[in-house]
Amino acid sequence: MKRLTWLVPTIYIIFLMLPIYWLVNMSFKTTNEILGGFSPYPVEFTTENYVTILTDPTWYWGYINSLMYVSINTVLSVAVALPAAYAFSRYRFLGDKHLFFWLLTNRMAPPAVFALPFFQLYSAVHLFDTHLAVALAHCLFNIPLAVWILEGFMSGVPKELDETAYVDGYSFPAFFTRIFIPNIGAGVGVAAFFCFMFSWVELLLAKTLTAVEAKPIAATMTRTASTSGYELGLLAAAGCLTIIPGAIVIYFVRNYIAKGFALGRV
């Protein structure tokens, strides 16, 4: 019995990794091989799919567009959420608890609900098909999330730290930037990570609010697939590349992710 303790975790990991392996496997195959039959590894190994994506502007601009609006959104969300979370964490004001909860309910509505109003509104103010449009639209669900995460981390810092700093002579802005934010650095990292991830994987708003100039990679993938038949190898390679940014970002906050999922409350 004891010798079998490795078995369950191993099966579990194989189960988890199989789809990712299959995606990687497919990305190094030609479309003909993929459609031709079952093979657990690429028989005709090819990097052609990756070369196409990295050299064809219609492909790689998808990544650049996605990274641009995701970055703008992340910076915007965290920058706006920091003071908001500080207020929720440190001050009592009329309706603060209700407002705080209401923020979270914003996450509960499917983004699709907002697709139409956003489309109409952004078209009217000439924001349609810009990176800013998608970044702003994603703030809808990312700012509440960032506020919740940061509030949790901030409430873990004793109020006495604020008081000590004021008595020592720090003005509020100096205290906030030089003492407070460095102290919740992990929280800022986790909040930024979650904003990045949710913005990166969000499809519907990103597709609705863009046409050509700011077309995200996910849109590129679906459109290319439908116009030039089934380029399965190409799609798989594009899929592999979309995993990479998230993997890089998650590496930096790997020790704090659990706390982030608990919205900073541990």
Binding site: E160, L161, E163, Y166, V167, D168, Y170, S171, G185
Partner: protein, 359 residues
């Protein structure tokens, strides 16, 4: 620097944390704010530091009206009960931070930081982060930050409460000396009467958001003006009982009485509250003026060379069980009825309003 609170009231919502208070501490002294948890010590300290604004009344520092002046502009130092340092700064940077904000030259900062670190025995830890230090060293860092600033008013809010016994004793002995040379006015909040007595200086005894009494520490201990002060300044709490003075006798209970002597002798007949500190109630007949009374032992505590017994008087009802604190080891048994001896010559008498009967 002298500090004056004039008619200060602090209310939060419907609750009153500080009732109308007038309080003056003269410059350059060591002052103690003594009171149980929740008496309002921390609130009062925050009002002095400017971290909170009074609902009513004014605060003066050296005669300057500072009621709504922010803490940054008051030149005060504050040390909390919890070890509060800037976790991402080294000890050196922690100590240097108030000086850097004051715009002092680098060389001068370096000199003062090193001097203070030497004084607080932190020199070997200057490069470390506060998180890598022991509790005592962390609190020393916080104290060093308060000292290095050379502020006129130093507020210490139970700075030793979270330290272990040995460290507490050590720092307690050093503290008055550290500030004495600097001419700063120190206000030290504590909940331990014992600590107040050791620190000396002036004590303001607080109870339920009010200053019960202000005066030299030893004097307040010996002669509390009111029952409130006496209660604040006694740990374990003072034993109290209702007594009746009839002629030249004080009656505690049927068969328990003693000749009225001292201040009570001149008082008119009537009902008074008698108070006696636990160390004046002994299980053995030793004191000359020992008055015997029977008690039922409820709880006993043995701490080294000291025995403590909580007991209920069998002859009369008292608001709280009485406590006897005596030297030596006395074997008590829970539930046993045994005699205790009250040294009534050092007992205190209070009238119905709680004011002490003074001669």
């Amino acid at each position: 620097m002298s500090i004056d609170l004039k008619g200060v009231v602090k209310r939060v919502g419907a609750e009153t944390h500080i009732y109308e208070t007038d309080l003056t501490f003269s410059p350059g002294g060591f002052n103690v704010l003594l009171g149980a948890t929740g008496a309002g010590k921390t609130t009062l300290i925050k009002l002095m530091a400017g971290l909170e604004n009074p609902t009513e009344g004014s605060v003066f520092l050296n005669g300057r009206h500072v009621t709504r002046v922010s803490p940054q502009k008051r030149n005060v130092s504050l040390v909390h009960q919890f070890f509060v340092n800037y976790p991402h700064f080294s000890v050196y940077d922690n100590i240097a931070s108030p000086l850097r904000l004051a715009g002092i030259t680098r060389a001068e900062i370096d000199r003062r930081v090193r001097e203070t670190a030497e004084l607080m025995r932190l020199t070997p830890m200057l490069k470390r982060r506060p998180g890598e230090l022991s509790g005592g060293q962390q609190q020393r860092t916080a104290l060093a930050r308060a000292i290095v600033k050379d502020s006129d008013l130093v507020l210490l809010d139970e700075p030793l409460a979270n330290l272990d016994y040995k460290l507490r004793e050590e720092l307690r002995n050093e503290l008055p000396r550290l500030f004495a040379d600097r001419g700063a006015t120190v206000i030290y909040a504590t909940s331990e009467p014992h600590e107040a007595l050791l620190l000396g200086g002036t004590t303001a005894a607080m109870r339920d958001g009010r200053i019960a009494q202000l005066g030299p520490t030893a004097e307040i201990y010996r002669g509390p003006n009111t029952l409130d002060t006496a209660q604040v300044f006694s740990d374990p709490p003072m034993n109290t009982a209702r007594v009746e003075k009839r002629g030249k006798e004080v009656h505690l209970a049927p068969g328990v009485s003693w000749p009225a002597a001292g201040p009570i002798a001149a008082a008119s007949d009537g009902v008074y509250t008698f108070g006696v500190r636990p160390n004046l109630v002994s299980p053995q007949e030793e004191a000359a003026a020992g008055v015997k009374i029977e008690g039922e032992v409820l709880i006993t505590e043995l701490s080294g060379s000291e025995s403590v017994a909580h007991f209920a008087l069998t002859a009369t009802e008292t608001p709280d069980p009485w406590v006897s604190q005596s030297h030596g080891v006395h074997p008590y048994e829970i539930g046993e009825r045994r005699p205790f001896f009250i040294n009534v010559s050092r007992g205190l008498y209070f009238d119905a309003a709680g004011a002490r009967i003074a001669g």
